[in-house]
């Protein structure tokens, strides 16, 4: 196969490319330029946009003996990932930009260009597994190493996208193994630190970065009964589940800490309350997609058992899900068997059965059985 290896400059993608070469594929390395103004040096462990990352990727390709190119996706990245990230926060939601990048950049813009140029697949250093069913249709599964598993951020990939995806690190027992392999192969990135933060926020200060880009207007902080108990500098500077920074002068009647339960961007209101009201029993999702072919229950509209996960390394919880429709678009309803904390609109819920990823949706609203009104986006 002709394989395009997306090379971030990190150790995972370098080893993934090496394995693709070793498997006998015809591999070309491509580094995605995602910023118009790459930093001159890497700061800490972050980034996918620095000159040093680009050089590290280049060096890895040299060692593997494969061609190396830099492709400019900075405009698409800005429009589809960065601007979207800001817009989602401005609308009071909590987006996951890495998922967005996988959905729109790596496995859409890049994949499309690769296919047009004659490649058969895009290879990345993600820890996840694509397996084929008896009819050759792709299924997405968790990686062998659940601690490193990244199937969550790939949950947004569709049948078409998975058909052309290659994740050579699927069966790797651990990250340490990948580093050891990089060392053995003479790849200089063997000991490069992992990247953790959002690549386009170089100092890791997401809140500060957002505040420079979102207009904040002072508004009210309400309790669960709708009583005003304070004011805030701007509703969209808060996230559901947040406890610090509320600056409420008077303590709650029961003396317990209060948490952000809900953000109402339209009314510019923040609703706070006790911790137990953060527990969510049901969520509804939009922008539904299936990772490969949908399971039968999706087509019949029946409810099915699954595990639901709402963040990259969050614990999955047992749930029953079904697909209906709302406003003419598919709507995923996920009823949790055990309540889950820390669910915010804008997050992605990924559904699993065993190791298999079924699909995902963007959380539009989340409900706590203990609260009379459904929490979530109003109006």
């Amino acid at each position: 196969m002709r394989v395009l290896a997306a090379m971030s400059g990190g150790v995972d993608s370098a080893v993934a490319a090496a394995r693709a070469v070793e498997a006998g594929h015809d591999v070309v390395g491509v580094h995605l330029a995602l910023s118009r103004m790459p930093g001159t040096l890497r700061t800490g462990s972050r980034g996918c946009c620095t000159i040093e990352d680009s050089r590290d990727a280049w060096r890895a390709c040299d060692i593997l003996g494969i061609p190396y190119y830099v492709w400019d996706f900075s405009e698409r990245f800005k429009a589809d990932v960065v601007d979207d990230f800001v817009a989602e926060y401005a609308a009071g939601r909590t987006p996951n930009p890495c998922m967005r990048c996988n959905e729109r950049i790596k496995f859409a813009a890049l994949l499309e260009k690769a296919l047009a140029l004659g490649f058969d697949a895009v290879c990345t250093g993600h820890y996840a597994k694509v397996v084929e069913d008896a009819d050759g249709n792709p299924e997405l599964h968790r990686a062998a190493d659940w601690a490193k598993d990244q199937s969550y951020v790939l949950g947004v990939l569709t049948h078409e996208q998975l058909r052309h995806s290659m994740f050579p690190l699927a069966e790797t027992p651990s990250k340490a193994e990948v580093r050891a392999e990089a060392e053995r192969r003479g790849l200089s990135v063997a000991n490069k630190p992992d990247s953790h933060d959002i690549c386009f926020i170089p100092d890791g200060d997401t809140r500060g970065w957002l505040e420079e880009r979102i207009d904040l207007t002072e508004g009210d902080i309400l309790d669960v009964d709708g009583e005003k108990i304070g004011s805030h500098p701007g509703a969209n500077a808060f996230t559901v589940g947040q406890r610090r920074g509320l600056k409420l002068g008077t303590p709650a009647a029961d003396g317990k800490p209060r948490f952000v339960l809900e953000i109402r961007p339209k009314q510019n209101e923040v609703v706070v309350g006790p911790e137990h009201l953060l527990a969510i029993d049901e969520m509804r999702g939009i922008k539904v997609s299936w990772a490969g072919l949908p399971i039968d229950e999706v087509l019949t509209g029946e409810e099915f058992d699954c595990m639901a996960q709402v963040r990259a390394h969050g614990d999955p919880v047992a749930a029953r899900a079904s697909v209906g429709s709302a406003d003419g678009a598919p709507q995923l309803v996920v009823r949790l068997v055990e309540p889950m904390r820390g669910v915010a609109p804008g997050q992605t819920v990924v559904l699993y059965q065993g190791t298999r990823v079924l699909g995902q949706a963007t959380i539009d609203s989340a409900r706590s059985a203990l609260r009379p009104e459904p929490a979530g986006l109003q109006g």
């Binding site: 050089r55 400019d72 996208q161």
Partner: protein, 406 residues
């Protein structure tokens, strides 16, 4: 098939012979003993040879580490020296199609040294406007430190009216620098006849080695040094000279200039064959620079530059590379990030037009077979690159957020 001679060209046979001869000897040309004298002799022979090839006097040749250093030394050196003589002289008149070695140096002086830059526009073929130059000079001649206009453009091959530029500036006594890295060895260049104050040349573009170049500095011209040390080169440039590289440079220059009469027309014929071939295979492709057929002395004999509508230059480069053809998008990159060329934008192209650029540059090893191989590959590569589309334009792959169900 190597069609990227403007980036660097293979070492020529006489240069390789000179290089290996000198590499096996030792001696610092500044030393006074026997080895030093021998090394000095070789360097001074080379200086005379290069001076003769460039139409200059030997004492006007200042060896540098290459074209970039020569451009830096000329522009910063002239700027500082001119300002030292008269502090109000802070204007730099610079064309909009300069190589980064010139453009970035000028912009650095603007940011850090109080320079005021007047950018001289070019026409659609890349020729600098003499009218704009005249107006800029006349506006404040007493405040003008220098003018800098390249001899020939590295991307689109357009040859500038350097003599006319120098003549205009001479009326006000303003010195002119020219980056002649692409011109020297490809077209007739005479420093003495040009009226230039300084002129940058490079060895590896004409069959010498990378890491050697020279700045020709008129005998009456004062430059403030950029790099300090032993003052080896007229006290203008310090650093131990690369004797072997300089000997190879001289041999390459001598060879290139001696064969200019045959090689120029030979390359021009190959160039025209390549232009005709690409136009036949890809009628949508647009030749950039001087129109075809280019009158002699208006376009570098080895330069072919096209923009291919609706596709990315780097896609085309990739596909040609796959087909064994080594070409270039023609412009420099930042961290390998391809940006639309400032040269093409200055010539009036849109960003999308400029993104589809591809430069094919011929040199002393080029043959008709090379040209025919490019022509044979270009149609298929273009079709495929066009299908791959443009960066920044929407993807047609439907995803969760873009109507997966629709």
């Amino acid at each position: 098939m190597y069609v990227d001679h403007a980036a660097t060209t293979p070492i020529s046979a006489p240069a390789l012979a000179a290089l290996t001869r000198e590499l096996s000897r030792s001696g610092n040309p500044s030393s006074l003993h026997g080895s030093g004298r021998r090394a000095r002799r070789s360097v001074e022979d080379a200086r005379e040879t290069i001076a003769a090839a460039a139409g200059a006097h030997a004492s006007e040749v200042v060896f540098t580490s290459g074209g970039t250093e020569a451009d830096n030394l000329a522009i910063k050196g002239l700027y500082w020296a001119r300002r030292a003589a008269a502090p109000e002289r802070n204007r730099i008149l610079c064309s909009t199609v300069e190589h980064h070695a010139v453009q970035d140096t000028v912009e650095w002086l603007e940011r850090h040294e109080g320079a005021e830059v007047v950018w001289l526009p070019v026409d659609g073929t890349g020729v600098v406007s003499l009218e704009a130059l005249r107006a800029a000079l006349a506006e404040a001649p007493e405040r003008t430190a220098l003018v800098t206009v390249m001899w020939a453009n590295n991307e689109v091959g357009t040859i500038q009216p350097v003599h006319a530029v120098a003549a205009e500036a001479a009326r006000y006594g303003v010195p002119v620098h020219s980056d002649a890295v692409q011109a020297f060895g490809s077209v007739p260049v005479s420093f003495a006849d040009s009226g230039l104050a300084t002129m940058a040349v490079s060895a590896h573009k004409i069959g010498g080695t990378v890491g050697v170049g020279a700045l020709l500095v008129g005998r009456a011209v004062t430059l403030t040094p950029v790099q300090h040390g032993g003052g080896q080169e007229r006290d203008i440039r310090s650093g131990t000279l690369d004797g072997a590289g300089i000997a190879a440079f001289a041999a390459a220059a001598d060879d290139a200039v001696a064969h200019l009469g045959d090689e120029g027309p030979r390359l021009a014929a190959l160039r025209d064959r390549l232009i005709d071939g690409i136009r036949r295979e890809v009628p949508q492709a647009v030749l950039r620079g001087v129109d075809h057929p280019a009158p002699e002395g208006t376009r570098l004999p080895g330069n072919v530059h096209f923009t291919f509508p609706g596709c990315e230059g780097d896609s085309l480069l990739f596909l040609l590379d796959l087909a064994g053809i080594e070409s270039s998008t023609g412009s420099a990159c930042t961290a390998g990030v391809p940006r639309p060329s400032h040269v093409l934008l200055a010539m009036g192209l849109s960003e999308d037009e400029a993104r589809g650029a591809q430069r094919f540059s011929l040199g002393h090893t080029s043959t008709a077979d090379d040209v025919d191989a490019v022509v044979a590959a270009i149609g298929g590569a273009y079709a495929r690159a066009r299908a791959a589309g443009m960066a920044g334009h929407a993807s047609s792959i439907r995803t969760a957020g873009t109507g997966f169900f629709s």
